[in-house]
Symmetry: C2
Subunit: 647 residues, 2 copies
């Protein structure tokens, strides 16, 4: 259409599936930069270093021919394979680009490591190399029976065999001269029969699907070792940043629903391929996968209508653990591999929370524990071996750096921590990779607000004091406190606005309300808590002291707060290598009691109270005076609240 003239262009950045939009006619590097995705380009986009290599996969018509600079830095072979330099490619229309690992900002911090508790290796999948005598006119045992009797050594058992395996069996047995490797699941189902001895190659795949991030682990089922890790932005983000946006998209119709399912499955296939290529593992040798995620991700991956999760009473279609064959879901590992979906707790507390509980071991502790998995949605769990209660709260995207004026993801140049001297009000800060500051990531904004609070720049209601130094009226007419000042030689001003503070208040208020309602449910006080676990990427970055200062974490000694990283991913790996861990998950899921915050009688008033910041003097005093009553610690008095749901 010649008449069409749009000044905006859109680029899909693979392998993460980002969608970058910007002004037509800009270079790809510039578009990324404007979207705060800093590609590796040491020369700053001048075309000197030739390092910002990318591969154009779609939309070649929407970019010009290679420039002389590109011809200098790239071989003819590379050019014909689609390689270009990000700083040279002028984008005139929609394109798709693969950014290779060396060009990708390494600092795109996807939390993939965490505690990895000692777990006994008891996988459900076993591979056995079998040799058997060939049939003769005097030994006419059919192929399958011959295989099974070699496998079960006389212990006749009912073993299921998929049709595809059975139909190939006669050929496989004869081509291999009657020496094959059989893979059996849970002692009752043959997953594959291969020629020769492949018994040493047996893998599992653990998947942690977050609303924003997907992390995958390729694990040897012989040693329990993680042999490859890959992660990506959840490709569903193009249909909505948070869960509610995605639910809204899903509810538009069948095809939108199917698109979300297809998109996450495709993304996971990309991670499978990536992990397999890193570790040189044959994808057909992945015989099991475990999946954790919130309930919406769980339903969407499975292809279950998530619509009813968006409306009261928010019940999931299924809560119990599920085993689904890989080829039914289109996951490109062994077609008969089992994909195990860990059980859920409720509509808004998914299997990621179950995996968190498993990984931290809190289900087995005598002492009372609090677990926070902080993100756009924050899951809160309180409990011990006696009882577990859980809730979820919509903490919003502030903790991910979104909806904050100078907010950004925790990538290069993000201020990740800062300190304001209460006396001099002098500011010091640390950025990701120590480069010049570009903005504030989640932990930076929490730190900033906490420090401003400590320095008396904000009052308990969150009002930014007008007359303080470095408080100015920003462009939008809003008051703003400058953390980074051009006047001090920095390339740009970075500040915290009154609105930013309100966003933090809403976010922390939601978490605080959740904790408070759960504590009421089990009738305990903060001082009875013995362990506080901070899970998830944000939980790992955040300063516990700052989180406590703004009231997000209750009044507990800093020493009991532990960052557990991606505990959900760890739990998924534990369930992958151990059938015992799976049983534990099932019991955690059925034992855990879900508390629907919105239905709680105290919700409204508690939330209103939680918006304020704690009085800084009180806080200091109470943490100094802190005495612990050993008698009451760790005991939950059983109680049945009006608005607490039991199954």
């Amino acid at each position: 259409m010649e008449g069409r003239c749009l000044s905006q262009v859109s680029v899909t950045v693979q392998p993460h599936g980002f969608r970058v939009r910007g002004k037509k006619g800009n270079s790809f590097r510039r578009l990324c930069h404007d979207a705060r995705l800093e590609l590796n380009s040491p020369c700053g986009g001048l075309g000197r270093c030739g390092k910002c290599r990318v591969i154009i996969t779609e939309g070649h018509a929407n970019i010009g021919e290679p420039t002389k600079t590109e011809q200098k830095h790239l071989t003819r072979k590379e050019l014909s394979a689609g390689f270009r330099l990000a700083c040279q490619v002028i984008v005139l229309g929609e394109i798709e680009v693969i950014v290779p690992k060396e060009t990708m900002p390494a600092q795109l911090r996807l939390q993939t490591e965490g505690i990895y508790a000692k777990t006994e290796i008891l996988p459900l999948v076993k591979k056995t190399c079998l040799e058997m005598p060939q049939p003769t006119l005097r030994s006419l045992k059919p192929d399958l029976e011959r295989l099974l009797s070699a496998l079960c050594r006389g212990n006749a058992r009912q073993v299921a065999v998929p049709m595809q395996v059975l139909s190939r069996l006669p050929d496989v047995l004869r081509k291999s001269k009657w020496k094959v490797t059989a893979t059996i699941w849970s002692d009752r189902e043959i997953l594959d029969v291969e020629e020769g001895d492949t018994s040493k190659s047996v893998y599992g795949f653990a998947v942690d699907i977050g609303t924003t991030k997907v992390a995958c682990y390729l694990v040897s089922l012989l040693t329990g070792e993680t042999v490859a890790v890959s992660s990506m932005i959840n490709p569903q983000v193009q249909h909505g940043e948070d869960i509610m946006e995605r639910l809204t998209y899903a509810m538009k119709g069948e095809s939108e629903r199917a698109e979300l399912t297809r998109s996450i499955r495709k993304g996971i296939n990309r991670l499978v391929a990536e992990c397999c290529s890193k570790s040189e593992v044959n994808p057909d040798h992945i015989y099991e996968a475990t999946v954790v995620g919130n309930t919406v991700m769980h339903h969407m991956f499975l292809g279950i209508a998530p619509n009813y999760l968006a409306v009261s009473p928010y019940v999931p279609a299924v809560k119990q653990p599920l085993n689904v064959q890989a080829n039914e879901l289109g996951i490109e590992i062994n077609p008969h591999a089992k994909i195990h979906f860990l059980p859920l707790i409720a509509g808004f507390v998914g299997s990621d929370a179950v995996a968190d509980i498993l990984a931290t071991g809190m289900y087995n502790k005598k002492e009372l524990c609090l677990l926070l998995d902080i993100g756009t949605n924050t899951e809160i769990v309180i409990g011990n071996q006696q009882r577990i209660v859980a809730c979820s709260c919509a903490s919003g995207p502030a903790f991910e750096g979104a909806h904050i004026k100078d907010g950004m993801k925790a990538s290069i140049g993000a201020i990740e921590s800062c300190r304001i001297d209460p006396a001099t009000r002098k500011i010091s800060f640390r950025t990701v990779d120590g480069v010049a500051p570009r903005g504030l990531c989640g932990s930076g904004i929490v730190d900033a607000v906490a420090q401003m609070l400590g320095a008396g720049l904000i009052d308990e209601n969150g009002t930014l004091l007008e007359d303080a130094p470095y408080v100015r009226s920003g462009e939008s007419g809003q008051r703003e406190f400058l953390i980074v000042r051009t006047s001090e030689g920095y390339p740009r001003d970075i500040g915290v606005t009154q609105k930013d503070i309100r966003e933090v208040q809403l976010a922390k208020g939601a978490v605080q309300t959740g904790i408070s309602v759960l504590m009421k449910t089990v009738r305990i006080e903060p001082r009875q808590l013995r362990h506080v676990y901070l899970a998830g990427a944000f939980g790992t970055c955040i300063s516990p002291a700052s989180a406590k200062k703004i009231g997000m974490i209750p009044e507990v000694p800093l020493g009991i707060i532990r960052k557990v990283g991606n505990a959900a991913g760890t739990g998924a790996r534990m369930a992958l290598i151990s059938s015992k861990a799976r049983q534990l998950c099932a019991s955690i899921s059925s034992k855990a009691q879900y508390v629907e915050l919105a239905a709680h009688i105290d919700f409204r008033s508690t939330f209103m109270r939680s918006l304020s910041f704690p009085s800084q003097s009180t806080q200091k005093r109470s943490s100094e005076k802190r005495t612990e009553s050993k008698q009451t610690a760790g005991k939950i008095r059983p109680q049945r609240l009006m608005h607490t749901q039991n199954y």
Copy 2:
């Protein structure tokens, strides 16, 4: 292509899938007639009666426009629906035609009825209508758990649910206002969940796949009643008439193998559709199917390489019963329906024999029984509740009227029985439907040879006496005895040639050898037999006296011979409606001992001896003198022969 000029045309005749070839320019009726498929056309193809209505489905360009005659007999609506008169349609190229039941020769005798032993109705499939309370904020049980607790009424059980059912569940429950019908298989797998109460509509489908014929039965799983029956020529016949031809075709390559699988599955889908339309049953309400057939048909239907069934030691890929999901095989009943393949006995004794044994009840009899399922391959079983031995022999196509000069299928005009007065040598005969004779079907040829033997026209070696009346030198220079003579006013001569007699000798010799080897294996004499069952279409048509006279059936009193019709189909239905019957089949399969005839030490000599006809005087004497020793009757002395294989 204008230059193309072939004088031959080819027509596919549905629903049976016949392929009729003939001269281009002939009417469709004439092509059928030449192929010995007599359509219902009382006026003899003159266009007067308008009865030979057919439907043209493919190749309209290869026939002319409707003639005036057709316009007279058919309404405009019928013409536009593709109806034509077979006698008026001039075939100029390839077409496909559906011949409606009323036009089809009713005499195309596909044996679909048989004994139907009283079987307790114990189907594995159960449908239950369930009503459940809807979820509220105080009752957050997930959809599946809600359904299962209504289904199991508190008895927690592990019940599997297919993903497709689970993904629709939230919608189904809400649209039906929480009143649904669940279908459960074997108390452990949900097959479907439907809105409202459909619990009265629950059906099964029994399939008997013969090399030549396929018979299907639609059965109510509530009452055990057969509500529709359909049958067809096995559509694989286009790739070979007998098993060896089809195996040869399958061994050509992957695509040929796949073609045979596709062809039988497609054929069965046609029968499903036919049965459902006859009885107005929703195909989604067919939740189980049972399948019986010889081992090659079994493997081909399942998509298992049958190649190794063609080479020594002829072992099947699998022998045990199998349950396969309908959608895995592409069978168009409920996608999660279970297709149960009855167990086999060996490479050449299939599940049809197991079903025969089940239906006759011989597995449970104290007395010794002999079962013959006669066809191109004949299965022979001897046994009782103590022991069962079985073998298979290649009896060739003579019994189906093939390879016989004037042989034909048992359709209209076929001589199905005949008698020659030994004194006057006057011949009387009966034809199918009593019309003028057109040829000899299997039972006719056996009768003719037996009568010729009795009348002294053939000696014990099978030589046709030269000097007898009505023996002439036929066109091919062969001696031939005329059964039907133009000299007596019949439209054509029909005779039995010396070569025809040799074909019968080979066929009966094979059967006789099989019986003889089995009797040696269990060390019994014919006089110890108490029941002889003749199964299959041919077994139903044949005259037991004639079969005995030519030596195919051993020396037993005629009174103990019983025709059991399509016992395999009956067994398939019994297994369909009763889980107990299935258990019996499994035990029959593992108990039955297969004897490989070709490997038997006495095979060659026995076969050579069996080619001769019994001495007619001896036979008469022995059947007159017959004394039975009650002591030895029914006892099989256990014995292990060199060439008898045990599993």
